[in-house]
């Protein structure tokens, strides 16, 4: 069956460090993968999209990699700040336009 897996355990890091979050998928061959941010009680907010023919994509302090051989995407936040604390979701489309989300990884950036 199709699965998208993210680390279910919360990630606690110190301010200024780089946070790295992992998304693994099975039984998908997505043309692209997306990362969203979700704050408590709020809707997901789009951050980055990476296509299957792109190895890496950057936006300000964010970097995403996409390894279609490993079936994995890594999401990095450099120089992390307490305001980056949130749950980060990866999502793929398995066909059509519907997004299938992972469970998300909660990131907490401490002073």
């Amino acid at each position: 069956s199709q699965k998208i897996e993210q680390n279910s355990e919360a990630l606690n890091i110190q301010e200024g460090k780089t946070a790295t979050l992992t998304c693994n998928y099975t039984n998908y061959s997505p043309a692209y993968l997306q990362w969203y941010r979700q704050d408590p009680g709020r809707g997901p907010v789009f951050l980055l999209l990476i296509r299957e023919n792109e190895k890496e994509k950057r936006k300000e302090r964010l970097k995403v990699t996409f390894d279609t051989t490993l079936k994995q995407s890594l999401f990095h936040i450099t120089a992390s700040q307490p305001a980056d604390s949130a749950t980060y979701l990866c999502a793929v489309t398995g066909g059509g336009n519907k997004l299938t989300f992972g469970t998300g990884t909660q990131l907490k950036v401490e002073l």
Binding site: Q34, G43, G96, L99
Partner: protein, 114 residues
Amino acid sequence: EPEVTQTPSHQVTQMGQEVILRCVPISNHLYFYWYRQILGQKVEFLVSFYNNEISEKSEIFDDQFSVERPDGSNFTLKIRSTKLEDSAMYFCASSINRDSETQYFGPGTRLLVL
């Protein structure tokens, strides 16, 4: 910056009652979605809507659910006879067109069924 808006932000209802959740998608968007998130679980797709008809729906979207675009701006989700397990956050989303990959989500409606 244009946003998807949803009303109400919270809704409490009795089991068996009908509820209508409302959404105003971004004005030039043509593709609309409903997702739900049960507390502590992942965001799940319910239905997509394009050109005044359902484009795709999930197994969750059974006969108790319906969607409508009653006018040029609103997009609604109706649950005919609510069950306890319908308690969740319901998110509306929209995208520019069917080929657009990015979806923009509203703030959600928290539905509690007692």
